[in-house]
């Protein structure tokens, strides 16, 4: 018995000799493939090697959405007293020249709320849904074609907007939520900025936006002393932004320089006096019944901090922001007006 039987191979028909034509075809095919590989290789050739960092083109700011200041002597800040946020907002805006002074027909308005935590509205840790609804409605009535609502909260965004009632308020008034997702963030390097260098910001929320209104509650805050209009802008940062707590005043001042809003609404109807900025208990809240409206976030915050029993000197970021030209703590220079939406009792 043989180990190896050559018979089957012998029985097979011998392959035909390669014709010259077929050989040339093979040669041509191999040549084309080799040329293609070589071309691709050369065209992708990277003589330097990778850089240490990928440098995307960075934004300089998120934009200047200010409207021209009213003629000298007209009020540029309104202090409104009351309990009904919708009425207070309406009265405050009326005192500043009406909604038409801020929002024109066809505008796309971005409402920057504070939706930081998945806490019910009653706990006051987030922008009041009634205020959001009132502002969104006013924008619509002033002719805004689109109203967007955005924040990059601390807890997961869907829960924050739903639990805080902001999603319902937006739906009810035809405003669209812009929830943060990675594609909406791009790097920003603030000119002369020390902290905001190549840092991801929520720029995608600003696509097509022509006006920006910030809606912030007044809250106690251990690190920043108080969280109001300026601190609310922290919610436009992405990344592991908490590293900036090492220089909280510096970052808040830079946030003011990063964005110039059209109008800032600082809502002190209910103020979180203790355990901020999360709160968590009704006993952390006080009914202060005040709302400040101004295009100047430094000015609203300089007044708002008083609701917490503190002074502007307790907030170093106000001086820093003022020095950076963000706004003024000299509120009197804005010709403030005071409005009452409810007749004083007694």
């Amino acid at each position: 018995m043989k180990d190896h039987d050559p018979a089957p191979a012998a029985q097979k028909a011998r392959p035909e000799a390669l014709s010259r034509r077929a050989f040339l075809w093979r040669l041509a095919g191999a040549g084309v493939a080799a040329a293609a590989v070589g071309g691709i290789g050369l065209s992708l050739r990277d003589a330097v090697g990778p850089a240490a960092m990928e440098n995307a083109r960075a934004l300089a700011t998120l934009g200047d959405f200010a409207v021209p200041a009213p003629i000298a002597g007209k009020p540029r800040l309104a202090e409104v007293h009351g309990t009904d946020r919708a009425a207070m907002f309406t009265a405050g805006v009326a005192a500043l020249g009406g909604m038409a002074a801020f929002v024109a027909r066809g505008d796309t308005v971005l409402l920057k709320v504070n939706a930081a935590f998945a806490a019910p509205a009653v706990l006051g840790a987030t922008t009041s849904p009634e205020l959001l609804a009132a502002v969104a409605t006013a924008c619509r009535e002033a002719g805004a074609s689109r109203v967007l609502v955005a924040d990059n909260p601390i807890n997961n965004p869907e829960s924050c907007f739903e639990v805080a009632g902001l999603a319902d308020a937006a739906r009810a008034t035809g405003a669209r939520l812009v929830l943060p997702r990675p594609a909406l963030f791009s790097p920003l390097s603030l000119p002369h900025g020390r902290l905001l260098k190549d840092w991801p910001v929520f720029s995608g929320a600003f696509a097509g936006v022509t006006k920006v209104i910030t809606l912030a509650p007044v809250k106690d805050h251990q690190r920043a002393v108080a969280s109001m209009s300026l601190k609310n802008l922290y919610g436009l940062l992405g990344g592991r932004r908490n590293i900036f707590h090492q220089d909280i005043n510096g970052i808040i001042a830079e946030l003011g320089a990063m964005l110039t809003p059209t109008l800032c609404v600082l809502d002190g109807t209910t103020v979180m006096m203790t355990n901020g900025p999360t709160g968590g208990s009704l006993s952390d809240l006080r009914q202060a019944g005040v709302m400040y409206l101004s295009a100047d976030p430094v000015a609203t915050d300089a007044l708002g901090v008083g609701l917490l029993g503190k002074t502007p000197a307790d907030l170093p970021y106000l001086a820093l922001a003022q020095a950076a030209g963000v706004g003024t703590t000299d509120v009197a220079s804005l010709n403030p007006v005071t409005v009452n939406t409810e007749p004083a009792a007694g």
Binding site: A118, I154, L179, R181, N242, Q246, G280, S281, A323
Partner: protein, 576 residues
């Protein structure tokens, strides 16, 4: 309508229902979100889960009564669940059909012949039941319903989560997701080799059904033995591989009804008569193999206990979701279906790879780095969706310790510990206190102690002072933003009360909030930083992990939650 068409409709219905229930396991009240959808219904139909939980707990959690209904129907009809309802079975059948379309008839028939390997699933079942009898529920590892829910919840859906039209705007991460994905892929690909590979050889639920069909009054069978040719058409698409042309292996018939549909003579039917060519109840089974597996399972459970992974040796990083039972009772119920992990709005519930020991593979544990937030204060979703009440359906008042639960206090998952060797204010002299800021408890479980600490390079001598405006002998080199409000100037050797906040700084010039007290001769001073250092109050901390999630020390966090003081293990509490 032909019976196979009815079967296909039923299978499609169950697959779509299954996918829908996975999709709507999303907290919210839109129609495609949780609202009131019975997302556990398919899991509740599982008699293996029910039997396992009965063995481990001697009780049957009410929703699992559905499984009793399925088992009762199986006693009459056979493995209708495998053929008509099981979503994994349907996916296997579809994958087999797609990959085997071009095979010749003879090859198909050969692949459907019964063989000894069918016994493997009975051996696996014996192992699982042995372990369950001694308190360790492992069925979920291979039980097709938890398996397919786990695979889709933790591997398939996360692939489509991110993006504007995704289910969630941001991606969700699941520890070890690749394993779930590849296991599912392997199960589906195995159908190319043998149709319904998983169902025939591995499925412990199929084995349980196989044991239950012995007395079915109605069954598949041949009407008469004679005059049946050799066409074997009945076996060409026989999903169970139960040999309808010859001696029928009763336990293997999954009621796919393909034989009945294919027989050109109409000799095969579903009727109350024995099959004409004979029947046998089970495939060739190694009785010794089954007994050995039973013994191995029965031994594994106490051996796991000896390992101590669920008692004294517990991994402190094992943090169960709120409302979880104590570890022993938890492992007697959890089927690792991944429902809690999918529904968790912050995706903080993760499959444990090593944290829960071998007996707790893929059971839920909280990972505050992978999640999108800590455990949300106002959320009770995980307890509502757990199909076996390993996580009890707890009310919000219980979680927060309100109302009738005020005396018991809130549900605690563990305790946060500050790592003072990593914490910025404790170890690096830099202000931070993010953990205190995000602590959602009122009053906060993290308190702060304020200290003034000298800044390296901050020893200065004052050469000139005009009120609060100072000129230093040289510009201090500290690398800090001295005018940021966090820095103070203190006379050397003087008390903290004399420190004055620096309000602006430029080169060797400092502006202070208020003038310094007289420093006397030498006029030496030091720049100090005001630090708020976190302290955890363990009586208030609920272990929600918000602090750990937000800690800017992003690698190994400077504040971390471990399981000490968790509510679910009374004797394991930390505080006296």
């Amino acid at each position: 309508m032909r019976i196979v068409v009815a079967r296909r409709i039923s299978q499609a219905f169950f697959v779509l229902l299954f996918l829908w229930f996975c999709l709507v396991a999303t907290v919210g009240d839109a129609f495609w979100q949780l609202r009131g959808w019975p997302i556990n219904w398919i899991l509740s139909l599982d008699p293996l889960t029910a039997l396992g939980v009965v063995l481990t707990t001697r009780t049957l959690y009410a929703p699992l009564l559905w499984a009793v209904l399925v088992l009762a129907a199986t006693f009459f009809l056979g493995r209708f669940f495998c053929g008509f309802a099981c979503p994994l079975g349907a996916l296997n059948q579809l994958a087999g059909w797609l990959t085997r379309r071009r095979l010749p008839t003879a090859a198909r028939v050969a692949d459907n012949a019964p063989g000894k390997a069918r016994g493997v699933k009975y051996v696996l079942l014996a192992f699982f039941l042995g372990a369950a009898a001694l308190g360790s529920l492992q069925t979920g590892l291979l039980d097709p319903l938890p398996l397919v829910f786990r695979s889709v919840n933790l591997a398939v859906l996360p692939l489509v989560d991110p993006g504007r039209f995704g289910i969630h705007g941001e991606g969700r991460f699941y520890d070890g997701a690749w394993v779930f994905g590849l296991i599912l892929l392997a199960i589906l690909c195995a159908n190319a080799w043998r149709p319904r590979f998983f169902c025939r050889y591995l499925c412990p639920l199929g084995a349980l059904f196989g044991l239950a069909v012995r007395f079915t009054p109605w069954r598949i069978g041949k009407a008469d033995a004679k005059a049946c040719g050799t066409c074997r058409r009945c076996e060409e698409y026989c999903e169970g591989g139960c040999r309808p042309s010859g001696e029928l292996v009763l336990s293997e018939c999954v009621l796919c009804m393909n034989c009945l549909d294919a027989c050109p003579t109409g000799r095969i039917g579903f009727a109350a008569r024995p099959s004409a060519c004979g029947e046998r109840a089970l495939p060739d089974l190694s009785r010794r193999g089954v007994l050995a597996a039973l013994a191995a399972g029965a031994l594994a459970a106490p051996l796991w206990r000896v390992g101590g992974a669920s008692a004294l040796g517990r991994d402190p990083a094992l943090i169960r979701p709120p409302g979880s039972l104590d570890e022993e009772r938890f492992l007697a119920r959890c089927i690792r279906c991944g429902q809690c992990m999918r529904v968790c709005p912050s995706a903080v519930i993760q499959p444990a790879v090593t944290a829960a020991g071998a007996a707790g593979l893929w059971t839920p544990t909280l990972n505050y780095r992978l999640g999108r937030a800590g455990c949300l204060q106002n959320c009770i979703a995980c307890g509502q969706v757990c199909p076996t009440a390993a996580i009890r359906p707890f009310p919000l008042d219980e979680k927060l310790g309100r109302g009738q639960y005020a005396a018991a206090g809130p549900l605690r998952l563990g305790t946060a510990f500050v790592d003072r060797t990593r914490c910025l204010p404790w170890a690096m002299g830099r202000p931070c206190i993010v953990c205190q800021e995000v602590c959602p408890v009122s009053p906060k479980a993290i308190t702060v102690g304020t200290v003034l600490e000298p800044v390296p390079g901050g020893a200065v001598s004052v050469s000139d002072a005009k009120g609060a405006a100072l000129t230093l002998a040289g510009a201090p080199v500290t690398g800090r933003n001295l005018g940021s409000g966090d820095y103070f100037l203190r006379g050397a050797g003087l008390s903290d009360d004399t420190a004055r906040r620096i309000v602006s700084h430029s080169g060797a010039n400092l502006a202070l909030e208020k003038p310094l007290p007289d420093l006397g001769q030498g006029r030496r001073a030091e720049i100090v930083v005001r630090l708020q250092q976190p302290h955890v109050d363990p009586t208030r901390c609920v272990g929600c992990g918000m602090c750990e999630h937000e800690c800017p020390v992003s690698g190994l966090r400077a504040i971390r939650v471990t399981s000490e003081n968790e509510s679910r293990s009374g004797p394991g509490r930390m505080l006296a």
